[in-house]
């Protein structure tokens, strides 16, 4: 299958990209691993693709108490980054390595994935648990949103038409923390039927978030109860199963996180 006719612009800078996005129905293209399949199915029909691939937004670095992940960092970059080599951030690498396949991880980017806002995407659960925020740029300037502010519904974000994610920023968990990701995948798509990211801190506090079960990723309430969590069912996996599965993966992710936080990684 082949996309509908579309213009192409290779952005030379962030400013250039924002300018190109002024064209009606223009759309930003990062790694393309979510967008191009949608273009091929002609579900999306932008007038112009603004390719961000040439921009320098790929670095992953520690900045004081924060980890900054450039929006164009690929899943492969995350799985091979030494910055993630700590028990508190190990869940991030776990999660990235469970996404797609080797080829997709070579191209797919964290910023592109978040902007696509697939409700079955793995990473948002992990990012929610870690308390991540995204930084954006638009002609109006820069702003910062939490992941739950960003992802408002299936394939829907709070981003403006000419607003680009530039980085994902998250607080580095205190030493002695552990994080983990667990999911059960659909056997065809590889997307999670339910996925959960968890963070356990040495003071005993924890955060767990789930994905794949509802319209958007959700933090599990302090109580751990999933009764009030919104869960969708479908032909393959009915709501009752998904709700149950969300509890299973949440417990498993937390178990991984706690084992790691106890230093038994």
């Amino acid at each position: 299958m082949i996309p509908a006719a579309v213009g192409y612009h290779r952005a030379t800078s962030l400013e250039d990209a924002l300018e190109a996005l002024a064209e009606p129905d223009a759309k930003a293209l990062a790694g393309g691993q979510s967008l191009i399949p949608v273009l091929k199915l002609r579900i999306a029909r932008p007038s112009l693709l603004v390719d961000l691939g040439g921009l320098e937004l790929r670095s992953i670095e520690r900045d004081g108490d924060e980890l900054r992940i450039g929006a164009l960092a690929t899943w492969k970059d995350l799985t091979s980054s030494l910055e993630l080599d700590s028990s508190g951030l190990a869940g991030l690498a776990d999660c990235a390595s469970s996404i797609g396949d080797l080829q997709v991880r070579n191209r797919g980017t964290i910023g592109g994935s978040l902007a696509h806002a697939d409700p079955a995407s793995d990473m948002p659960a992990m990012l929610l648990a870690l308390g991540a925020r995204v930084e954006t740029r638009s002609p109006d300037g820069e702003r910062s949103l939490s992941v739950s502010e960003l992802l408002v519904g299936p394939f829907t974000t709070a981003l403006g038409e000419r607003e680009l994610i530039t980085a994902v920023v998250l607080p580095v968990p205190p030493p002695g923390s552990g994080s983990g990701y667990a999911s059960v995948e659909h056997p065809a798509s590889g997307f999670p039927l339910a996925g959960a990211g968890a963070l356990g801190r040495p003071d005993g506090t924890k955060a767990v978030a789930i994905t794949g079960v509802g319209a958007r990723p959700q933090l599990v309430p302090e109580s751990g109860s999933l009764d009030d969590v919104e869960v969708y069912g479908d032909r393959f996996a009915p709501e009752s199963y998904r709700r149950h599965l969300a509890g299973v993966v949440a417990a498993r992710a937390l178990e991984i996180a706690q084992v790691r936080s106890e230093g038994r990684r």
Binding site: M1, I2, P3, A4, A5, V6, G7, Y8, R10, L29, G32, Q33, I36, P37, L39, K40, L41, L49, D51, G53, K76, G100, D101, L102, Q103, V104, N106, R107, A188, S189, G190
Partner: protein
């Protein structure tokens, strides 16, 4: 509207004209006659179209040709040098890692990426690395054996 594209394919600088919507796989097959890269699905699952872009395995059906501007693309046609099969190719032949062969070029290029970064992958690592390469004929075990044999050959 056709746009110019210049890139290096199998070591040769190439220039061609493509549409904005042209996928890399079609540029390679239709534009350059490199039909060893195959189309097997529409949805980026099967991996029959896998090529190397700057040394990394990617699905050429999920990449616009214009995104490959300025890159070095390697397809299955250039893996054998001077008539000598690459160690991975030889391993697939000798260890029966193929039947119909339609998935094979993509498999081999994914394995090329894997073995660049992991010189001695275990069975689980190999099977995980092949998640994005469907084979309907072999049951994968001979493919796994081929990858191990290739890793051994490349180590010596």
């Amino acid at each position: 509207m056709p746009e110019p594209l210049s890139l290096v394919v199998n070591g040769e600088p190439r220039r061609l004209e493509v549409e904005g919507r042209t996928l890399l796989v079609h540029a390679l097959r239709d534009g350059l006659g490199l039909t060893g890269t195959h189309v097997g699905c529409d949805t980026s699952q099967c991996g029959a179209c896998t090529v190397l872009v700057d040394g990394r395995a990617v699905k050429s059906c999920t990449l616009l040709a214009l995104q490959a501007e300025g890159t070095e693309v390697t397809t299955i046609e250039s893996l054998a040098a001077d008539g000598e099969l690459h160690a991975i190719q030889r391993a697939f032949v000798e260890h029966h890692g193929l039947q119909c062969g339609y998935c094979t070029p993509g498999m081999i290029l994914t394995v090329h990426d894997l073995l660049e970064h992991d010189h001695d992958p275990d069975e689980e690592t190999i099977r995980r690395a092949l998640r994005g390469n469907y084979c309907r004929c072999t049951g994968y075990q001979p493919v796994v054996e081929s990858v191990r044999a290739a890793a051994r050959a490349l180590a010596t």
